[in-house]
């Protein structure tokens, strides 16, 4: 389908509330539905982290936290944060909102499928939450769900919790697949005239690459979930060797627990990038806009995204250096893992070089974006420890790992979620958020998370293992480590509670925020050039936009203003370089 086929008539949209806001097929409404649902479960996961921190910092102070409960918190917290919050938010939320707008399309190409995607996502969330109401409660197998432990007594939630978890993941993957096919088709088929691939904002490049990763990686999780379900329900032995469990011989045999880990991490590592890549893209565009400067090294950034996406499929076993797999594999996976650091480092350099000679507006989105660079930097650098097999051996499964992955795939992406929400809030709602509250929210979050996670690495150096309900009576763990844990817990709970500032800001500004206008940031990309703000159903009024230049014509010498929107013709900036105002010159991939 090409741009010309897009139905210009249907942008009027439905009037009835229920069709407009509930059973909506408008990508913008679906995006908000995705976002709000993700935040709602995210709050649950946040509360669970407080409970864990209470137990770690002040063991025994809360009567109801017994070992089973603790492991259930760990598991639900991890799974919700990674899958149901971040994956859903970046792809279902930002992907949905921004792809059609940034591509100059009226909507996703399959709006009905898009709507179904959200409802399946909601269903998966409900199935997950249902595990709190079944006998035995949710599973406590850790978010990695490693068998045999995850399906044997001795782990909480082996009656129903694990079944619901696996079912919920399967439904989530179906939801993601419906959304993902849509995103890819839309980007490939529905870009407006002139928007060649190499003119696309990095947001689109990264979301689309993450979607491709998801479509290739989630099936591995899907099959492992189904196989594990069979092992649990039908008594098959895909992952079950001969086991003597609690003194009883089980009727299992011949399966391999390591096979599950390979399948899980074949999904699990790309999953890290499914979360990280969209964050990379969004932050690139936000940095560029608020530094009033083109993103540095755009082509290199695109290649880096693609390289990271590709290599991310051949590094998975760096999570398995001490899993008992063949030890010679360590050479291969250590090498690929350290190679992937190079494109990742290039991205970090290019973000900082975007600031260089910029004209930096330190508003809330920009603060969070810089906060992202700083936290991602730590997380990326500590990844070089864990990726290098000989270094990983002493550190694996310690708090060093907990600190590393929180920095790299929890805190850094969350920084971008906040940056992006603040940045696009005026477009989504038509009103500005409250800047003062936003800045306070940034300081609390940035400084707080630093205080939580920076010292935590050192607990890992000391050898404190992760996923421990209690550390009492271990002599090698110093007295002061327990005090540090108290400190971390206090800060964590404080930072968590103060996220209320964000919620208040979002809700209050809906009513009282200043009207934003169409393009409050003087940004170049298409979503800021819509005829109405918030954009109406169909986005573009009667005529689709035409793109004449790349997404980063900021501060072009000789231009009247410090930005030239993508849909503005002219010789200056990139418009001059391509020389063909429909962009057909670059050939490949351009809609014809």
């Amino acid at each position: 389908m090409a741009y010309a086929d897009q139905d210009t008539g249907h942008h009027a949209g439905p009037d009835k509330f229920i069709w407009k806001y509930v059973w909506s097929q408008d990508h913008k409404v679906i995006a908000v539905q995705y976002g709000c649902t993700a935040i709602a479960v995210g709050i649950l996961a946040l509360v669970l982290s407080w409970l864990m921190r209470m137990q770690i910092g002040f063991p025994g102070s809360l009567e109801f936290i017994d070992p089973s409960a603790y492991y259930q918190y760990v598991t639900m917290h991890g799974m919700i944060m990674v899958i149901y919050l971040l994956t859903a938010f970046f792809l279902g939320g930002f992907g949905n909102y921004l792809i059609p707008l940034m591509c100059g399309a009226r909507d996703m190409v399959f709006p009905f499928l898009n709507m179904l995607s959200y409802w399946f996502y909601l269903l998966s969330v409900l199935i997950l939450l249902a595990s709190y109401f079944v006998p035995g409660g949710p599973t406590g197998a850790g978010w990695t769900l490693y068998p045999p432990q995850s399906i044997l007594q001795g782990t909480p939630g082996t009656d129903w919790g694990i079944i619901l978890m696996l079912a919920s993941l399967a439904v989530f993957i179906i939801a993601f697949t419906m959304g993902g096919l849509n995103y890819i088709t839309t980007v490939l088929q529905a870009r407006c005239r002139g928007l060649t691939l190499m003119r696309m904002p990095l947001t689109i490049w990264s979301i689309i690459t993450a979607t491709v990763l998801g479509l290739l990686a989630f099936p591995a999780l899907f099959v492992s979930a189904i196989m594990l379900m069979f092992d649990r329900v039908l008594g098959t032995s895909f992952f079950m060797p001969y086991i003597v469990h609690m003194g009883q011989a089980l009727e299992t045999g011949g399966g391999s627990p390591v096979l599950f880990q390979h399948l899980f991490w074949f999904f699990g590592h790309p999953e890290v990038y499914i979360v990280a890549l969209p964050a990379f893209g969004l932050v690139s565009d936000i940095l560029s806009t608020h530094a009033r400067k083109n993103i540095f090294g755009y082509r290199m950034m695109v290649w880096a995204i693609l390289a990271i996406g590709g290599i991310s499929f051949i590094v998975w076993a760096h999570h398995m250096y001490v899993s008992g797999m063949n030890l010679y594999l360590g050479y291969f996976f250590a090498t690929t893992t350290l190679i992937i650091a190079i494109p990742t480092a290039i991205k970090v350099y290019n973000w900082t070089l975007t600031l260089w000679h910029g004209n930096i507006h330190l508003n809330t989105p920009m603060l969070f974006s810089i906060g992202f660079i700083s936290t991602f930097l730590i997380g990326g650098l500590t990844g070089l420890f864990l990726g290098n097999v000989a270094v990983d051996i002493p550190l694996s499964d310690t708090y060093f790992v907990v600190a590393h992955f929180h920095m790299v795939m929890a805190i850094a992406p969350i920084m971008v979620v906040f940056a992006a929400i603040y940045h696009w809030y005026p477009k989504i709602t038509g009103r500005m958020y409250n800047e003062t509250l936003g800045v306070i929210h940034f300081w609390v979050t940035f400084v707080g998370t630093y205080l939580i996670y920076f010292p935590m690495h050192y607990l890992g150096f000391e050898g404190m293992p992760r996923r421990y309900y209690a550390y009492e009576g271990y002599e090698f763990i110093s007295e002061s480590a327990h005090s540090l844990n108290e400190f971390i817990s206090v800060v964590a709970i404080l930072v968590g509670v103060l996220q209320i500032l964000f919620i208040i800001n979002m809700l209050m500004s809906l009513k009282t925020g200043k009207l934003a206008g169409a393009n409050p940031w003087n940004a170049t990309t298409l979503e800021w050039q819509t005829p109405q703000t918030p954009p109406a159903h169909g986005n573009w009024g009667d005529e689709l936009p035409v793109v004449y230049r790349w997404a980063y014509d900021y501060s072009v010498p000789g231009a009247d203003e410090d930005f030239i929107p993508q849909n503005q013709p002219g010789e200056l900036g990139d418009g001059r370089e391509v020389g063909d105002d429909t962009g057909h010159s670059s050939g490949e991939g351009a809609p014809a």
């Binding site: 070992p67 406590g140 197998a141 990695t144 432990q149 001795g154 782990t155 060797p241 001969y242 003597v244 469990h245 609690m246 003194g247 391999s256 627990p257 530094a291 009033r292 083109n294 090294g297 755009y298 001490v322 899993s323 030890l327 250590a334 350290l338 190079i342 480092a345 290019n350 900082t352 600031l355 910029g358 930096i360 330190l362 603060l367 810089i370 660079i373 700083s374 930097l377 730590i378 290098n388 000989a390 270094v391 051996i393 002493p394 550190l395 499964d397 310690t398 940035f446 920076f454 050192y458 150096f461 000391e462 421990y468 309900y469 209690a470 550390y471 009492e472 110093s478 540090l484 501060s555």
Partner: protein
């Protein structure tokens, strides 16, 4: 501006914290000092980048902060700079990867003179097996596991008869003697982990994994489990004692062989001591505390004679009959609030007497 100051303070603070931090590697007790060295190399390379990038951002924030009269530069790319940065990063990666892989080569090549010791994990206890006088471990398989043969040693394999089995007690190893730990699991994943040894490895049912190390320091070291294995994971403790050659030989000669342990009558002695020993040997303490703290199972402190609230709503007094039943058939009456995870221990009447006698003293 505040941002630049905070970034600079953060860098300074992190460096100070690093040097001041009381939290650092535990004192090394094995040959794997090289692992510490690779960590330190990685530390310096990455630490340099951490400082440089953060300070660079701080500099940009100060220097290029928005002013009404400022215009940003228009500089889409700079291939030369990008090539330089890529090259330097590549060098940094090589500087970390090379020593890493050299150490790793050491790690996967077990020296020929290494002595094999087997560590077996089960929920939530470690056991050990030593080759006896013949210097080789006999065949073992979970299929052979019985109550009296907890490690599943093949009863028909002559090599296994002299194997030494240690359950519920510390493993002893000899100073400066390379050891290859062979790891087996009876049930789920575990990970044999001693912080001071650095090396660790998962313990996987269905296969034998291994790692090797040479102890370099006398003393006693805590063994823990580093792979989530259920509710008792955090309390799956054991101990490795590094002995001098003489002490090690003395200890070894006191251990019973597999053949001796089969069908040998239970040693008689003080009933209470025997009970304590049984509790130790079967790993009961992983779940039942002696000091009243909450564990996976109810604490044994003051348990005898106390009234237990059961999951089905009824109550029961913890008398001899109840306690004996709870050991041989723990599923029969479950205490409210605890998961049904205890195995049945089909012990003989003498052993049960000993345990109950022991409970009374707690």
């Amino acid at each position: 501006m505040a941002l630049a100051i905070v970034l600079i303070l953060m860098v300074i603070g992190s460096v100070i914290f690093h040097f001041w931090s009381p939290w650092w590697f535990t004192e090394l007790a094995s040959n794997w000092g090289a692992m510490d060295t690779t960590i330190l190399i990685t530390f310096w390379v990455t630490g340099f980048v951490f400082i440089a990038v953060n300070l660079f951002i701080a500099y940009c924030v100060i220097k290029f902060r928005h002013r009404p009269d400022r215009t940003a530069a228009y500089e889409p790319e700079n291939s030369k700079l990008e090539a330089w940065l890529t090259g330097l990063t590549g060098l940094g990666v090589i500087a970390m990867l090379t020593p890493g892989l050299i150490v790793y080569t050491d790690f996967i090549n077990v020296p020929d003179d290494a002595v094999i010791i087997e560590a077996v994990g089960q929920q939530w206890q470690w056991s050990y097996r030593y080759p006896g006088l013949d210097g080789a471990l006999g065949k073992a398989d979970n299929r052979n596991v019985t109550f009296d043969n907890p490690l599943g040693i093949d009863p028909d394999d002559p090599w296994g008869q002299d194997d030494i089995v240690v359950t519920g007690a510390a493993a002893h190893i000899e100073l400066d003697q390379p050891i290859k730990f062979n790891l087996r699991s009876k049930d789920v994943l575990h990970d044999f982990y001693v912080s001071q040894f650095r090396a660790k490895m998962d313990v996987v049912p269905g296969l034998v994994s291994y790692f090797w190390m040479t102890p370099t320091r006398l003393g006693s070291f805590e063994v823990m489990c580093a792979e989530l294995c259920g509710v008792g994971h955090y309390n799956m403790r054991s101990e490795v004692v590094v002995d001098s050659r003489e002490d090690y030989q003395a200890w070894l000669s006191q251990q019973t062989t597999f053949a001796e342990s089969q069908g040998k009558p239970a040693p008689v002695g003080n009933l209470i001591e025997r009970g304590a020993q049984l509790a130790q040997q079967h790993g009961c303490i992983a779940c039942h505390s002696l000091d009243g703290n909450r564990g996976v199972g109810p604490s044994w402190k003051g348990m005898y004679g106390r009234t237990e609230q059961l999951a089905d709503g009824s109550t029961v007094t913890a008398d001899d009959a109840y306690l004996r039943e709870s050991i041989t058939d723990p599923g029969a009456k479950l205490v409210e609030g605890y998961p049904p995870v205890m195995a049945a221990y089909p012990m003989g009447s003498d052993d049960l007497d000993a345990l109950v006698a022991y409970f009374k003293t707690l």
